[in-house]
Subunit: 260 residues, 2 copies
């Protein structure tokens, strides 16, 4: 399974702007890796986040009609981005099959309920490359919610019995502190669930880990596949060749999340 | 429920060309009708048919990879068209919610199997306006198949307990013979299931009905909701005002399919 972060496939600070160069390069890398069975999930970046924030989708539905329209608009933006990514993959000769989460997945308090996975399983067995995404979804308790690409790929990895999850982001991985601020920050090649537990409880683990920005939520979601024995690795997808190498099982700089 | 034919929302003989004028006008008519609970299904027209034919999607999957890519390409084209229609509806202040059939519906020999309808039901109850479409879908027997918008809307009308189905096409309805060829062709305001049965068996019913072009398959699908007591009416969606009037329950020229 391959996650492509919103900060990779879009230009983060420009509203509704795809990073076409990165998308085309990554489509080429996926094709070049000759990986056979793969599910791709991408994030929203400048397609999803600004609209979701504007309409406060994550907080649920307050019964106002304009919020329904905001939900529609956010979902439609995600469909646009997905269409661009799927087209890039098809242009590389890959049988990319767009899978729309909100058409079959509902959440409860923002967490995925038991969705029907028949289409996904059937598609993978036929040789399709399902391409799904973080999406606005209906929620049993709140009306609606944001389903992050990280929650989605972690859930699918476990349910579909993935071998490994490669998480492509716009940084090399985890550091002991923010490398932009602290020049003595050290890169972390392996982080254990124990390390992360300490981090989440606020007590601090055996060593310090920098989880500024959206990294904390991402790491939280990714512990699920790790606990289920699936290899999870965070790599920089903006560095050419990284995703191809990671998919091919070659050595690449990144942070592995390991059981312990 | 409202069906918008592919010949209405696209320019039929121009590859991948939406009929933007009609789409925007119809979005306005749907908004003006102030209809509250509605599900919209649109056809493929020049987005779906040429690609589906090129890759012979309807015949199923023969195990060739280029056919998988053809399936992907056809589905992605339908996603593009859906996105345009959903955007037009959102721009009119309607909470249009794109529903992708191939993400949760599978067929068997081209007929819909029991799909999960939880999201659709929940969306309608929340006040969303689901907008779905004829699509390429996975098929238990053939690998894949074409799910026509007519089969989809007829199935959903019955399962969701619709009150009526309005089928917007590019002609006024049914005639006793082709009005373009035969100047004495008479317009049919009501056609019974008995009439249609005679037609299908080739024996001929109580009177002649012209079902050239794609009309035969359409009529065949639409008998299902009629048998379930749902009002089905074919109207010309290219004539301004027709869809608004039909949705508002006002009098409009068209052919009603009635039980008998």
């Amino acid at each position: 399974m391959l996650k492509l972060g919103g900060s990779v496939v879009t230009v983060k600070d420009r509203f509704l702007t795809p990073n076409i160069e990165a998308i085309n390069r990554l489509a080429g890398e996926i094709a070049d890796s000759r990986v056979q069975r793969i599910v791709i999930v991408h994030g929203g970046g400048s397609y999803g986040h600004p609209l979701a924030a504007k309409y406060r989708i994550a907080e649920g539905h307050f019964g106002e009609k304009h919020q329904l329209i905001g939900f529609s608009e956010t979902h439609n933006a995600m469909v646009s981005l997905n269409r661009i990514i799927v087209k890039a993959l098809i242009d590389r000769g890959l049988p990319a099959f767009s899978i729309s989460p909100s058409s079959f997945i509902m959440t409860k308090h923002g967490r995925i309920c038991d969705p029907p996975l028949e289409v996904l399983k059937y598609a993978i067995n036929m040789g399709f490359m399902p391409v799904s995404y973080g999406d606005t979804v209906l929620d049993h308790e709140r009306g609606f919610a944001i389903l992050s690409g990280d929650q989605l790929i972690s859930f699918l990895a476990v349910k579909l019995g993935a071998e490994k999850v490669i998480v492509g982001v716009d940084v090399d991985g985890l550091y002991t502190s923010d490398p932009k601020i602290n020049p003595s920050a050290q890169f972390i090649e392996n982080v254990t669930l124990e390390d992360l537990k300490g981090l989440a409880s606020g007590v601090g683990g055996s060593r310090s880990i920098d989880v500024t920005g959206g990294m904390m939520g991402k790491i939280f979601e990714l512990t699920l596949p790790v606990m289920n024995g699936i290899e999870v690795m965070i790599v920089n997808a903006l560095k050419p060749g990284n995703i191809c190498r990671a998919l091919s099982g070659e050595n690449v700089k990144g942070t592995k999340i390991v059981k312990g």
